[in-house]
């Protein structure tokens, strides 16, 4: 039955409807697949086999009753940054080892409403800080297409699980590229929605003003199905939008004829791998062949995106991670004094990159530095946003690479944090502008403005 796991989400949904197989069979096929490839890939921190089969039996009942959604009975993987009730949620950190939240994230409730099957919790860089998933406190995930290489990060477990057919889709989170870059490195589709499109309630925060949940899947249409399920207003997330959720799947039917595709010159830089540039150029050429109109554009503040990002993110991190003191939850470490207990708990619970960002952010927000770093970065953020607003007066979408390189070897960048930061050079600017973006198999990246209906660009891939 293991070939079932290779289906697309849409094919699997069709098969369930046609009674070709049951959700229990489909789920068992995915669990079998996990059993056979997981020793090499290590995409999951927790495989929830019992939960999955329970979900599957309930889904089969709903499928028999009719009227079930496309996600009913479909196994998916969830980044371990997203709270799942009663199921360990670690954020990839020792400090949350054994933490079983008493609540589900909003996105999990949405998926449950549609009857999805929880296959397991996916590995990630600790607290989503990283671009290779090597910062996980638990394990290193391997790129399914090149086992000695990283899957990208921070949603590397989610990308690898989808690529290795260990799930039909996965949820990731993207702050500066954490969905798109691993999707790109693992050859799957990854979508970072517009900020506010998806509720962050129950998603452990890295940088609240940038974090966004999105789907990873093997086709654009599959990603559209998942996004349609998880998007929408949540009264408990004041930053979630009240704008209605469009029908993403039917939007995929539209062609690209006449679509103005912006090609930003700043995103084709010296030092990027020739293979990446070739693939992106070829993808753009294919769009043009299908009737899209290429337009060269400029995003002049692109160079400032990385420094801006690495001021704002650590500032928010320094506050967001202050709550992990081991008192109410998590793993406490004793100390002679209260301050020593704090230091021991956080010192042993957090990894190096997390500590680095907490220190950077604490420094950048401190009296005397606050204006030079935090305030200045917010100003530059506005300029970056304006770049995109101006560009979208000329074009409907922007096409550019999601990563300057293909998957790099495990261990290649762990010694140099800045090299690791540079892996996100092409994905950082878009969230700073609050914009959505999508990474595709061709290692190309599409971002588009508020014209959400333009998603069919993806359909042309």
């Amino acid at each position: 039955m293991s070939e079932l796991s290779a289906l697309t989400l849409e094919q699997a949904a069709a098969g369930l409807r046609a009674r070709e197989f049951s959700s229990v069979e489909l789920t068992q096929a995915v669990l079998d697949r996990i059993g056979s490839v997981e020793p090499d890939v290590r995409a999951y921190l927790t495989v929830t086999a019992d939960e999955a089969l329970t979900n599957a039996r309930a889904a089969d009942q709903r499928l028999r009753n009719g009227g079930a959604s496309l996600l009913c009975g479909i196994p998916g993987g969830i980044k371990d940054l997203i709270a799942t009730r009663g199921i360990q949620t670690t954020a990839g950190s020792r400090i949350l080892e054994g933490f079983k939240p008493p609540y589900n994230a909003f996105v999990i409730e949405q998926l449950r409403r549609d009857g999805y099957v929880l296959a397991g919790k996916c590995n990630l860089d600790e607290f989503a800080m990283g671009s290779s998933t090597e910062n996980s406190a638990y394990q290193v995930t391997h790129n399914p297409f090149a086992l000695d290489c990283v899957p990208g990060g921070s949603s590397g477990g989610s990308a690898a699980a989808v690529a290795a057919e260990e799930a039909f889709f996965a949820l990731g989170t993207d702050t500066g590229g954490s969905i798109r870059q691993p999707a790109s490195l693992c050859g799957v589709v990854g979508l970072k929605p517009t900020y506010g499109r998806v509720s962050r309630w129950g998603v452990i925060a890295m940088a609240s003003s940038l974090d966004q949940v999105g789907p990873l899947a093997r086709t654009v249409r599959d990603a559209a199905i998942v996004l349609g399920c998880i998007a929408g207003r949540d009264e408990l997330d004041s930053t979630s939008t009240t704008r209605p959720v469009p029908d993403y799947l039917s939007a995929c039917e539209r062609g690209v004829k006449g679509l103005r595709v912006g090609v930003p010159k700043e995103y084709f830089i010296d030092g990027m791998e020739p293979a990446v540039e070739q693939a992106v150029r070829a993808a753009i050429a294919e769009l043009v062949r299908q009737g899209a109109v290429p337009v060269e554009i400029s995003l002049p503040h692109t160079d400032y995106a990385l420094p801006t990002y690495y001021v704002i993110v650590p500032c928010e991190v320094s506050a967001n991670l202050a709550r992990f003191d081991g008192i109410r939850y998590g793993v406490p470490q004793p100390g002679e004094t209260m301050w020593e207990a704090y230091a021991n708990t956080r010192g042993s619970g957090f990894g190096a990159e997390v500590k680095r960002r907490i220190m950077l952010g604490t420094y950048a927000l401190s009296a005397g530095y606050h204006d030079a770093y935090y305030v200045q970065a917010q100003k530059v953020r506005t300029l970056i946003k304006r770049d995109f607003e101006e560009a979208f007066e000329q074009v409907d979408v922007i096409a550019c690479p999601a990563s300057p390189s293909t998957a790099f070897p495990i261990g290649a960048k762990t010694e140099d944090p800045v090299q690791m930061y540079l892996a996100d050079i092409f994905t950082l600017a878009i969230p700073l502008a609050g914009l959505p973006a999508r990474a595709y198999e061709a290692a190309s990246e599409w971002s588009h403005s508020q014209c959400r209906e333009r998603l069919q660009v993806g359909g042309a891939q």
Partner: protein, 488 residues
Amino acid sequence: MSRYETVIGIEVHTQLLTRSKMFCGCPNDYAGAEPNTHVCPVCLGAPGMLPVVNETALRYGMMAALALNCTIPEFSWFERKNYPYPDLVKGFQLTQYSYPIGSHGQVNIGTDAEPLRVRINRVHLEEDTAKNTHVTNAAGESYSLVDCNRAGVPLMEIVTEPDMHSPDEAVAYLKKLRDILVFLGIANGRMDEGAMRLEANISVRTPEEAEAGVLRPRCEVKNLNSFENVRAALVYEVKRQAQVYDRGERVRQVTMGWDLEHGRTVVQRSKEEAQDYRYFPEPDLPPLRFTAAEVDAVRAGLPGRRHEIVSRYQQVLGLDAYRAELLAQSPAFAAYFDAALAVCPQAERVANLLLGDFMAEVNDRRMDMESTAGLPPAAETAELARQWEAGEVTGPQVKQLLPRLFDTGEGVEAAKAALGIRVVGAADELTPIIEDVLAANADAVEKVRAGQDKVFGFLVGQVMKATRGQADPGTLNRLLREKLGVAG
């Protein structure tokens, strides 16, 4: 006479009487609750939890700001005030830092004729912290317990300019402020249970420095949980600082506590240890916007100012200050009284009914006059007062009727019919009863005739008893005196 002028600024923190907490749905009323029972993942700072602003708290903030004559900004936002401590579950407190909900206000602590204005620097909203209890057990181990029931309770801080120049003025301001907040119905003003917390900033200076507008270093005194403690601490500090300067030394800018037991201030930390709170806007909440229409609507809904109501009751209705103050204890009570007056304009009678038997009934039922829910309609209470005034019911009957009005919500006439209450006022009805009573109490009759007027009351009581409280007191008095042949 000291050669120094005193300069005092006051900071007040008050919890707001909302139903739920500032950023989550947990009940705000935690008094007496078991520790950590009024909590949820949001106010425990659990991973992935997000705040949602309590709209009522925002409205209360606007009410206070407007009542204190403050300007309300068009935009505001909450900011994260970062510091680590076990009572701060998120490691930061959400507070309005850059743009408080109210600023540039003032409050008059003098009279209309001789105003004494205290400027309000800011009114801002924030969340309360959890409560730490430090414990040393029998084995000598010491540790802390954290109760998160209080974490996230809406808190409002009101900061004055250094405009008060004596402990008396500081206390006058505090009383005035508490009156305003309690009257608005947004705070309970309880200092003993920590719902209202007081801090005073105090410094002294020479008249020349006052002239030049120069301030000397100030000391902040915390832990003041009564007006008397404020006064005592300020009196102590004025004297202490003057002595320090007179010795030729300097006063250091410090934060102090008030040691109630020894009646002295104690240094808690110096300015050098002041923390850097690394404020930045809370990214989990969009900016707040206060439109002119919203502000106007809140302004229109504000109750009249309490002191204006009190002075109206005194000057227009002729009530004494004590009863005027009591009637204006809450906007709801004042409105109830005003509504009753529309039916029964005899203010004295209505006031006596409301503050007497009516309040007793309210208290017996453990209700309060913060809202009019559960009270009889004001028109019926007024009708009762009118009938009492007109002699259509007697005092004892009022006591009988009130519980029924509270219980059933029916009108006075219906209640009278149901209880069989009427007034025996006609002479031909009362005379035989009086004669019976006199015959049965010959001793008492003798005493009254011998001039023991106290005993007259006894006979009145006996007649009342015989009529089951239905005798009209006026007629009864007149007839009884006639029968006994004694003057009134």
